[in-house]
């Protein structure tokens, strides 16, 4: 559908989608590595590109109730993780607007 606009990142350490190698985010955007996703370890990033955000839904996670939206790679449409839209506990408010990428769904590219 049209020419897909794929953004490219120009840092040294880049995380890409594991299936189609589209750039997702950079190491400088990493906030925390101590998260759990559906398939194991997951990382919290402040900004991710080349994704589409799905519909919002309420989910009960380890840390409590949150409103999240799944994020999909724009090229291959695979689920990469989710985005925190609303956090209902004060201690979890720092996550709002940030993205979780599951470690199993991303690959590292660049000079690590």
């Amino acid at each position: 559908m049209g020419i897909l606009f794929k953004q490219y990142l120009s840092g040294d350490k880049i995380y890409t989608c594991s299936q189609c190698k589209t750039h997702c985010t950079e190491h400088s955007q990493l906030i925390s590595k101590a998260f759990q996703g559906r398939h194991g370890r997951a990382y919290l990033f402040s900004d991710v590109v080349n994704i589409t955000v799905g519909p919002r839904e309420d989910r009960m996670l380890i840390t409590g109730l949150h409103t999240v939206a799944d994020i999909y790679c724009i090229t291959c449409n695979s689920v990469l993780g989710w985005k925190y839209e609303v956090a209902y506990e004060e201690s979890q408010k720092y996550k709002e607007g940030k993205f979780i990428l599951e470690k199993a769904k991303v690959m590292k590219e660049g000079s690590w």
Partner: protein, 634 residues
């Protein structure tokens, strides 16, 4: 303006009566009468003007100003110089006027052949004025050149030379030169003494232009405006009526373009073909010809500025050159990056046929490169022609390269240094001396070819595509969240001509901004010590307008918008909500939102010579033309 209504009772002749005229009380009665008298004299009705002066008791100008004016026009510079203190504003300004008069006197004497008298003027009258030495030297140098070339940089307009011209031509030339001098002197004189020439016509034209500017819908080639009513036009001049639905393509259409002469249109589609149409003056697309049919999608088409050649870029990293009149393919270029270039060109060198070469390049690309970045780096992101219709710019992800259309092969003429790590779009300015590019760093970069100076304009988000209006003043940048930013570039920026021909080493002369109206203005500014301003120093920092479409949701696709219409007055863009948006370029307001497509609109193009025709290309496989209701009226 209605008939003048004096607010005071009528006074007898001979007394100057002050009063305010006009519905808003803005016009001074005495000035109004003086301007009318000047207009009557301009029209040739000298007796009527004299009668008005006698009846109203208001003279057009004091006798000293009239004498000054006639002295300048008659070429009696000594008389004019004597009268100068009475009409000039103040000391420094009067000095400039004195310089202009003496220079005109010097040049006229020189062109008439009286070199001794001219030298006398130079030594005794110009020298004591304390002008810059450079100026004196340039004036003296005029003597050394032949009389035919003497008019270079002087107050007189371009002339064929005094020698050999008849006396009537000479008289005409002198009259024009003196009228130009008078206009120049106007800056130094008190306007209340000597009314600027043609003042009433100037005021009326300003009012007409203001009416045009305030009308957002003005989109017509005709420029006749009536003085009797205010100019008003509605949406009937905008292309809002659906015209043809062209279904030549079987899949998404990604690009559409008109040739500069307006006779051809071309489109590129995901089904791998590029189709060429001829466009009739009434705006119909006819006789489609399929130019190429490849298994890989065709992304971009670009017409050469002389409308004789067409380039089509396909996703197998190849660019094909076609002749527009016959539709035949002339040449094929393989676009490769500097790093992947060795492998690709070695493989392609062996292939003879088009299909074989494309297949070999694709195979070499995928096999030779480890990361996906290298293969993606060869995708053609932008195609843009230089004004000489011979060289064109190809932008891949990794860089910009200039190719020669007449040389086959995959070796570019020159690779340009790129301000971005990844390039998303690029284009060549209409003058050929400047390249505008956007990339992953969220900035618009302008590169001047003559000295490779790069200036950047920061943008608020990643820019997916850019488009420049034909006049070169307005740049639209599509951002990835359904926004279009309109940037107004300084005059002379993209019009600057680069180094001509094949060599890029020589630095081209910078255009002076604003361009000098005549040589005298250039000389005058030298006297004042002004220097030419580089347009690259005056880049805008914020977009002139920010235009929203589809509620500013993030868009996934590369959408192309365009600037067009009469005087580049409109911006048209398509969005993912399948609607075509038309904004006013002057005010930024949304004028129309048209919905007929059933797929995301990828590209729009406004016809360059017919402001009532617009074309849009969409993911539903159709190209729709839009006509203005004014064009459909019989």
């Amino acid at each position: 303006m209605g008939p003048p209504q004096p607010h005071e009772p009528q006074l007898h002749n001979g007394e100057q009566q002050r009063g305010l005229l006009g519905p808003r009380g803005l016009i001074d009665r005495v000035e109004y009468i003086r301007v009318l008298e000047q207009a009557l004299r301009m029209l040739g009705y000298e007796e009527v003007a004299a009668a008005l002066e006698a009846a109203s008791g208001v003279e057009q100008q004091p006798p000293v100003a009239a004498a000054f004016r006639s002295a300048v026009l008659a070429g009696e510079y000594d008389a004019a110089l004597r009268l100068l203190p009475a009409v000039a504003a103040d000391g420094r300004v009067a000095d400039r006027a004195r310089f202009l008069l003496l220079r005109a006197k010097y040049i006229e004497l020189m062109e008439a052949g009286a070199t001794a008298a001219a030298l006398q003027v130079l030594r005794s009258e110009l020298q004591p004025l304390h002008v810059q030495q450079q100026v004196l030297h340039s004036l003296a140098a005029l003597l050394l050149r032949s009389p035919a070339a003497a008019s270079n940089g002087s107050a007189s307009p371009d002339s064929a030379g005094a020698a050999g011209s008849t006396s009537t031509a000479r008289v005409e030339q002198l009259a024009k030169a003196r009228a130009a001098l008078l206009e120049e002197l106007q800056d130094s004189l008190l306007p209340s003494l000597l009314i600027p020439e043609r003042r009433l016509e100037e005021l009326v034209e300003q009012a007409l232009l203001a009416q045009l500017e305030s009308c957002a819908y003005f989109n017509s080639r005709a420029t006749h405006l009536s003085l009797f009513t205010d100019f008003q036009v509605g949406a009937e001049q905008l292309p809002t009526q659906p015209g043809q639905v062209l279904e030549e393509h079987s899949s998404e259409v990604w690009s559409i373009a008109f040739s500069r002469d307006g006779l051809w249109a071309a489109s590129a589609s995901k089904d791998g073909s590029a189709v060429l149409w001829s466009v009739t003056p009434s705006g119909r697309f006819e006789s489609p010809r399929v130019l190429l049919k490849q298994p890989v999608p065709c992304q971009l088409v670009a017409f050469s500025p002389d409308s004789s050649l067409l380039l089509a870029a396909s996703m197998d990293c190849s660019v094909r050159l076609h002749d527009v009149a016959t539709g035949k393919q002339l040449r094929q270029f393989l676009v490769a990056d500097p790093d992947a270039g060795a492998a690709a060109s070695a493989a392609a060198g062996g292939g003879a046929g088009l299909g074989a070469a494309a297949g070999a390049a694709a195979a070499a690309g995928s096999a030779g490169s480890a990361a996906a970045g290298a293969a993606a780096g060869s995708t053609v992101m932008a195609l843009s022609w230089f004004p000489d219709s011979r060289r064109f710019l190809v932008a891949t992800h990794r860089g910009l390269a200039v190719f020669d259309a007449q040389q086959a092969g995959s070796a570019p003429l020159r690779r340009l240094p790129c301000a971005h790590s990844y390039v998303y779009d690029a284009l060549v300015g209409p003058g050929g001396g400047c390249i505008i590019s956007v990339g992953q760093d969220k900035r618009i970069a302008l590169t001047r070819l003559s000295d490779l100076r790069v200036e950047v304009i920061p943008e608020s988000g990643p820019v997916t595509s850019i488009h420049l209006s034909p006049c070169g003043r307005f740049l639209t940048a599509n951002l990835s969240d359904s926004l279009v930013h309109v940037w107004q570039l300084p005059d002379g920026l993209v019009r600057s001509a680069g180094a001509a021909g094949g060599t890029f080493a020589a630095a081209a002369a910078l255009p002076h901004a604003p361009p000098a109206a005549n040589g005298a203005a250039g000389g005058g500014s030298a006297l004042a010590g002004g220097s030419a301003r580089d347009p690259f120093d005056a880049l805008p920092t914020a977009p002139a307008h920010e235009l929203r479409m589809a509620g500013a949701k993030p868009s996934r696709y590369v959408l192309r918008s365009c600037v067009g219409g009469a005087a580049s007055g409109f911006v048209a863009g398509g969005a993912e909500d399948c609607r075509l948006y038309i904004w006013s370029r002057r005010t930024g307001e949304l004028l129309e939102c048209l919905g007929c497509h059933s797929g995301c609109i990828n590209a729009t193009a406004w016809h360059p010579t017919n402001p009532w025709l617009l074309a849009s290309a969409s993911d539903d496989g159709t190209i729709r033309t839009w006509l203005a209701p004014a064009a459909l009226r019989p």
